[in-house]
């Protein structure tokens, strides 16, 4: 697996597209070796290891766009699929904004995308980590009686992009992660928690001990949880849940949603929406970040884009197509077929989560949510949740089977404290933060 192989496949696909009648085209090839070990108790429950390839092709003819994704690399199969894909463009409406970016370029310096140590690692050492994580969660607390498994996974890959203007580039990347799912018995009730972490470098991954204790704490802390009363109170979102809330903010600033009116932020650039503490950035060049890359899905260099500055909405995030459609410039956020985050995060504050709780006379700490009910057009948020009721700055008792709901406009304006616990563990990340008031529905 090397960069030149991936570039060669991309260039071959471009020539097939040209033969089939495409006037311009762009090919992206990903080749990755993925490894996954799952342990449960003392048993290696799953061992997966494979090298996979995929090609994603965009073709343009008279302003009509069609795409192909394929894992068929047989000579006849690839030619047939490319020819069909180009043919499918015939029924597409011409679109003046469709096409390749005006300029593609790459700059991978200093991005720390690949850990050379990962490719050298022996399978035995990886499997041993999953088994050790299983041992640690059981050793951490006697109430942990079972688990849904502990995982070690890694991937070493190459991503190449070439287009018909002559641009071609590639980069090598790595990713490694550990996760676990302890089950603790709370009387008759099973309490399961999931915790995991990921990084590009093995050395930057949270240690097995920290992962095990964090996961176990999330399971046993909720023992005896009860349904809270229905009320309006301050709500603190713990780091991982805070990140899922930021995913909804990303959806609202994605030009793909803005362009079709599916965003509560449409037409509001320049308006003050959040509190002073709301500074949200999309930065594709955070060294070692999981959302970091030298160029985006269509070869536009990545960059740092301030999205909210001290509550003021500064910019949406664009790929080339939606930038042209909305009269802006690409922010290097193309996924190849749409608009995606690079490293999208809320600027951290300086206090710890513990201090944030201590500074909250009464409220709710949300540790986990389920569901995905956000209406992006109206900015209405609602989730099932579990966590703690806070009284006098202390975690008074665990609560579950309740919902939290609010309007995003009010929620961002209500951010009144941000913790300093940000970690770049995924494309969308956040420190813990507090919202001054939300509706909690329980009894």
């Amino acid at each position: 697996m090397d960069e030149s192989t991936a570039i060669a496949i991309a260039n071959h696909a471009l020539s097939l597209a040209r033969d089939a009648g495409a006037q311009s085209a762009e090919a992206s090839v990903s080749i990755a070796h993925r490894f996954n070990a799952e342990a449960r108790a003392q048993v290696v429950a799953k061992l997966e290891g494979s090298t996979g390839k995929s090609l994603f092709l965009r073709v343009f003819r008279d302003g009509r766009k069609a795409t192909l994704s394929t894992t068929d690399f047989t000579a006849g199969g690839l030619r047939d699929a490319v020819t069909r894909a180009v043919g499918h463009a015939d029924l597409v409406a011409p679109d003046e904004y469709a096409g390749l970016p005006d300029e593609a370029a790459t700059d991978g310096a200093g991005l720390r995308l690949a850990d050379p140590a990962l490719a050298q690692r022996e399978g035995v050492a990886k499997v041993a980590e999953a088994l050790e994580l299983e041992r640690l969660i059981r050793a951490a607390d006697p109430r942990v009686t079972n688990s849904s498994g502990s995982h070690y996974h890694d991937a070493v890959g190459v991503t190449a992009l070439a287009n018909s203007t002559g641009f071609s580039a590639a980069y090598t990347w790595t990713r490694v992660g550990r996760s676990t799912g302890p089950v603790a018995l709370d009387g008759e009730v099973k309490r399961i928690a999931h915790y995991g972490t990921a990084a590009r470098y093995l050395s930057e991954l949270e240690g097995l001990g920290t992962i095990a204790t964090t996961a176990v704490r999330r399971a046993v802390d909720l023992f005896g949880a009860r349904k809270p009363p229905t009320m309006r109170v301050p709500v603190i979102f713990e780091r991982d849940v805070a990140a899922s809330l930021l995913e909804d903010v990303f959806a609202a600033v994605s030009a793909a949603n803005v362009a079709v009116g599916n965003s509560w932020l449409s037409g509001r650039v320049g308006e003050r929406i959040g509190s002073e503490l709301v500074t949200i950035v999309d930065d594709g060049r955070v060294p070692g970040g999981l959302g970091t890359s030298p160029f985006d899905g269509e070869g536009v260099p990545t960059r740092r884009t301030p999205v909210f500055e001290r509550g003021m909405l500064r910019s949406f995030l664009y790929d080339t197509y939606y930038a042209r459609k909305l009269g802006a410039s690409s922010t290097g956020n193309s996924t190849g077929g749409g608009v995606g985050p690079s490293n999208f995060y809320l600027e951290p504050g300086s206090i710890s989560l513990d201090d944030l709780i201590a500074a909250t006379p009464q409220g709710v700490l949300v540790m986990d949510t389920i569901g995905f009910a956000t209406e992006h057009a109206t900015g209405t948020y609602s989730r099932g949740a579990r966590g703690f009721f806070i009284e006098n700055g202390e975690l008074a008792y665990p609560i579950d089977e309740f919902t939290i709901a609010g309007q995003f406009t009010d929620m961002l304006a209500g951010v009144d404290a941000v913790a300093g616990d940000l970690r770049f563990e995924g494309p969308v990340v956040s420190p813990s933060f507090r919202i001054a008031e939300m509706t909690v529905s329980g009894n």
Binding site: R40, V44, A45, K46, L47, E48, G49, S50, T51, G52, K53, S54, K65, A66, T67, L68, S69, T70, T71, D72, T74, A81, A85, H88, L91, V92, A93, D95, N146, S148, V183, V189, K190, R191, I192, T230, V260, G261, G337, I370, G371, A373, E375, A377, T378, T380, S382, R383, G384, D400, E401, F402, T403, I404, A405, G406, T439, S441, G442, N443
Partner: protein, 465 residues
Amino acid sequence: MIDEALMGRLVSRAMRYGGDFADVFCERRRTLSYRLQDGRIHDASYAVTLGVGIRVVVGESAGYACSDDLSPAALLDAADAASLIARTAPDGGERSIELSLEHSPAFYDCDRSDTIDAARYVAMLEAADTAARRYDPRIVAVNAHVSDELQEVWIATSEGRLVADCRPLITFGVQAVASEKNERGSGYVGDGGRTSIEFFARETPAALGAEAARIATVNVSAVPAPAGEMEMIVGAGGGGVLLHEAVGHGLESDFNRRGTSLYSGRVGERVASDLVTIYDDGNLPEERGTLNVDDEGVAGQHKVLVEKGVLLGYMQDRLNARLMGVEPTGSGRRQSFRFVPQPRMCNTYMPAGESSVDEILASTQRGIYAKSFAGGQVEIAKGDFVFMVGEGYLIEKGKITTPVRNASIVGNGPEAMMKVVAVGNDARLARRHYTCGKGGQFVPVGVGMPTVKISSITVGGTQHG
């Protein structure tokens, strides 16, 4: 796709260090889809999935490797990688496994000619767009998509079985957005199934577009949902998402064999009110979750999960069935050749009860009517679930009144099922557009239900008091 002799050799090679069983899953799939936006065909996409997954099972352990390179050398490497799970045993070398092709019943027709009349699909999108915009002047945006998929699979097992299936799947969906003053509301409708384009002569794109527009106009005038505990009536058809989340996932055998589900070890016990019967069926003609054979080569089945409130059994894949000492139920499914099979639902539904819808409504003082759900999620250890209501109304003094927006419902599976106090006589399957996600794998499923009343549930709105 690859010849029978090579498939036999791969199964044999995978078992070189022994194992309880091994299987080879070959897949060729093509999907053509078109998307409409702003009244125009926005793009066409074509996807081809071609590859082989090889698995070796030893006790509760599975080794898995897949390859998109179909050369014998690459496939033998994959078989070797999968066999590593059993590597503590001596290398027994390859032995000869003779495969014999079995024929399966057909619950859907499969046209292997691979000719798609794309112009007809495009016309369908345009018809839905026109109908949605004509429905009401408040409709400001319509997005529609259609996809036509054909998946061919071949599964060889170390017992010498060779099974093939060819699965069509058409998905047509329309989203309409209505706008009035500063409010917006959206509506989504989808349909299709393991069927042909002729299906849409009965369920016309224009009718589906108008229905999406109707829901959007209901939601644009909806008031914020109330917050707190109240009675709930779940609508027939799409309400079946409730069964899928509140009960179905908890009855998948991996969680139960491992003892991580709240339903573990509870076969024969009461888990719901005696009005509740739940089936999971892989044999319903043309439904999204229907399978002639599952992804492990086991025939799809009709399974009684819960009968009159009593838990009768789980949905089993081969690995977990073997460990639990029961037969697999045709529930082994995977997203593609890159994934290990998991026990999954097919089409999950509740048969009709005896109450009339009028009686159910009349008995409800203050509550919420969830006509359809936009989605849901469950946590299987404790059984807590959440649902998002797609179209919902307040019920006041026995009457359906004001539409409400963005209601979430939270509860606990068995608790909610114990509170089922009425089951309607209007059972039906939902429109076919549901997809289920589990452990990062997405598969098409079906759901269905009669109108059902639950005596108390927590509604998570923003209107307190």
